[in-house]
């Protein structure tokens, strides 16, 4: 027992150290080199201090939003894979991200130009869209019998995904050319949030989801063995599933509204972590969240430097780096 606890602590600490190192180093690196002493120094006025503005306005919000989005998507991936007992599940499987995307598309297409406290209508509409999708999927999954049917959940989610995707295409088709371009760009993911207000807006939802995640690992371990086994071990299966579903969906909705539907993190990171450290959710869940954060920040760092001053959409990088890396690890292990 002591051994396992120690192992958990060691592994999580190692991942934490890695994530912190990446998050600290990433804002120092960019297409141009900046002087840290000037950026942090008080000798130069803020309105004259280019280095400080590059650090605090351009880079730090990007790194922070990348870390949050990556952690949320990776952790949501772990939770949903356990909940659905399906290794192919991703945060985007249950239609939440498609709902979020539809919300964003509608906001872009009708040119909804409202914004509150520096958060534009697009993230707000996309979060609203994800809530609608969560509501529909949950209502469908619980309509059949008492409790939550994970089969119905999965099928309803997949169907809703296709349905929303069709609506997204429809909205894009009827909107004009510049709006379509903007919409397509949104779907590739973008972490250049240009300030802290959108991060602050997404933070309460993310923290609530992470708070629930903290209580989930033991239950997830039992759920992966099957609902009956879990029930026999004293798990209130229905309530556990409900918590897992809502927290993972909330994390996904908030992450997508902040950075767009950045693909691949939610499926690759959980599996990468499992290949590295086994499948105990007490380790996998925190490790995946930390590794997801570091991975996304590194991908975004690549996205903003590799073709500088041009910028690549981060969603392309996550798939281009994550895919081959994952396959390599898979082949090496077997």
């Amino acid at each position: 027992m002591m051994n396992i606890r120690r192992r958990i602590a060691m592994v999580v600490l190692a991942f934490l150290a890695f994530a912190i190192a990446v998050i600290v180093v990433a804002p120092m690196v960019g297409s141009t080199s900046i002087s840290l002493s000037k950026a942090f120094g008080r000798s130069v006025d803020w309105n004259e201090n280019v280095d400080a503005q590059i650090f605090f306005v351009a880079r730090l919000p990007r790194v922070l939003s990348g870390a949050l989005v990556g952690a949320a998507l990776a952790a949501a991936g772990v939770v949903l894979q356990a909940l659905l007992r399906n290794p192919l599940a991703t945060p985007f499987t249950l239609g939440v991200s498609a709902g979020a995307a539809l919300g964003a598309m509608v906001a872009i297409a009708i040119g909804l130009d409202v914004g509150w406290f520096g958060v534009s209508s697009v993230p707000i509409a996309s979060f609203a869209g994800s809530l609608v999708a969560i509501g529909i999927v949950y209502a469908l999954a619980t309509s059949q019998r008492r409790g939550l049917s994970t089969n119905v959940l999965l099928l309803a989610g997949v169907t809703l995904n296709s349905f929303f995707s069709a609506l997204i295409l429809f909205v894009q088709y009827v909107s004009d050319f510049t709006q379509s371009v903007r919409a397509v760009r949104w779907l590739m993911g973008d972490l250049d949030v240009g300030g802290y207000s959108s991060i602050v807006a997404a933070l309460p939802m993310l923290l609530a989801a992470f708070g629930v995640f903290a209580f989930l690992p033991r239950t997830l371990n039992l759920l992966t063995l099957g609902e009956d086994v879990a029930a026999a071990r004293g798990v209130d299966v229905m309530s556990a599933q409900r918590w897992a579903f809502f927290s993972a969906s909330l994390a996904t909705g908030a992450a997508v509204s902040l950075g767009g539907p950045i693909g691949f993190i939610g499926i690759v990171v959980p599996h990468l972590v499992r290949l590295m450290i086994g499948s105990d959710h007490r380790i996998v869940l925190p490790a995946a969240a930390l590794f997801g954060a570091a991975f996304t920040v590194l991908c975004d760092l690549t996205a903003r430097t590799i073709m500088a001053p041009l910028e690549l959409p981060v969603g392309i990088i996550t798939a281009l780096i994550g895919g081959p890396f994952f396959l390599w690890l898979l082949v090496k292990r077997s």
Partner: protein, 289 residues
């Protein structure tokens, strides 16, 4: 046997194409009387050179001149309605260069097309002349072109020798934020207009029409003027103030520091047509007041 049939079919198709091309050439000799335009910029040109009465259909995005609003709409760049176009029995269809399928369909129906792609400022003038020739309004087209040239020359003469402010030319941005900022690179008609108006594009070294600029690159390139182009108007007051306010976060940028962030709005700024001289004059007024 089947193969031979295919060959025969292909040969017949080739023969049809040749015939179509012949028709195309012979049509081109006479002045078209029923023109369908799928490109708003070209529609504006047609009306400006007096070929307006020959236009029988326009794209769904055409707004100018106001008389186009009563004309039948035939779709646009991505969704041209071939059936409607054919039902208008056009004798010339103006298409965008990438509408290859539509061009093929028109060729099959023996309807000549005029295929256009956006280019620089010079390309606008060349296109006006070409349309003049094609529609039998050579003199009007020449007069229009020299009118535009004179006005642009006048602007150039006014700004010559003045310091050319390094300008960030923004044509798209997520409202109220600094996300998804798309700016002009070193090519395209907007960049040409900026140069004619006495400015210098801060992304001149990137040979593209459109560049996604991150806040970091904007901070580094430190433009002296930020010029936002919008096709729709922004009412002055709170709306405009809050849009300008978005930039205040980049307060080291000279344009922001010296309050030289401007909105230049209106369709004449975004349509590479005969109103381009208006656009150059308005840009120059902002850059060199």
């Amino acid at each position: 046997m089947a193969a031979r049939q295919t060959i025969v079919t292909r040969l017949t198709a080739v023969a049809f194409c040749v015939a179509a091309c012949t028709v195309f050439v012979s049509h081109a000799q006479t002045n078209p009387q029923r023109i369908v335009s799928l490109v708003p910029a070209l529609t504006e040109m047609l009306f400006a050179i007096g070929a307006g009465p020959q236009v029988v259909g326009v794209s769904s995005y055409d707004r100018y001149p106001p008389s186009v609003t009563s004309l039948p709409r035939v779709g646009a760049l991505l969704d041209p309605d071939t059936e409607r176009i054919l039902s208008l029995t056009p004798d010339l269809v103006l298409t965008y260069g990438s509408q290859v399928d539509l061009q093929t369909q028109m060729r099959r129906a023996s309807i000549p097309t005029f295929d256009y792609r956006h280019g620089g400022l010079d390309h606008i003038l060349v296109t006006i002349r070409q349309l003049g020739q094609r529609t039998g309004h050579i003199n009007e087209a020449n007069a229009l072109v020299s009118g535009i040239e004179t006005r642009i020359q006048a602007v150039k003469a006014r700004v010559v020798g003045k310091q050319r402010p390094r300008t960030l030319l923004v044509f798209s941005r997520e409202p109220k934020t600094l996300r998804n900022i798309y700016v002009s690179g070193g090519s395209g008609f907007l960049r040409d207009m900026l140069v004619a108006a006495g400015g210098e594009d801060v992304f001149e070294d990137i040979g593209r029409e459109s560049v996604q600029a991150t806040t970091e690159t904007i901070l580094i390139r430190a433009p002296e003027v930020i010029l936002e182009i919008r096709s729709e108007n922004i009412p002055a007051g709170a709306e405009l103030d809050s849009e300008l306010q978005s930039w205040s976060r980049l307060s080291t940028v000279p344009a922001v520091k010296n309050k030289r962030v401007y909105f230049v709005t209106g369709q004449q700024m975004t349509v590479p047509g005969p109103r381009v001289a208006d656009g150059v004059e308005r840009m120059a007024k902002v850059l060199h007041p």
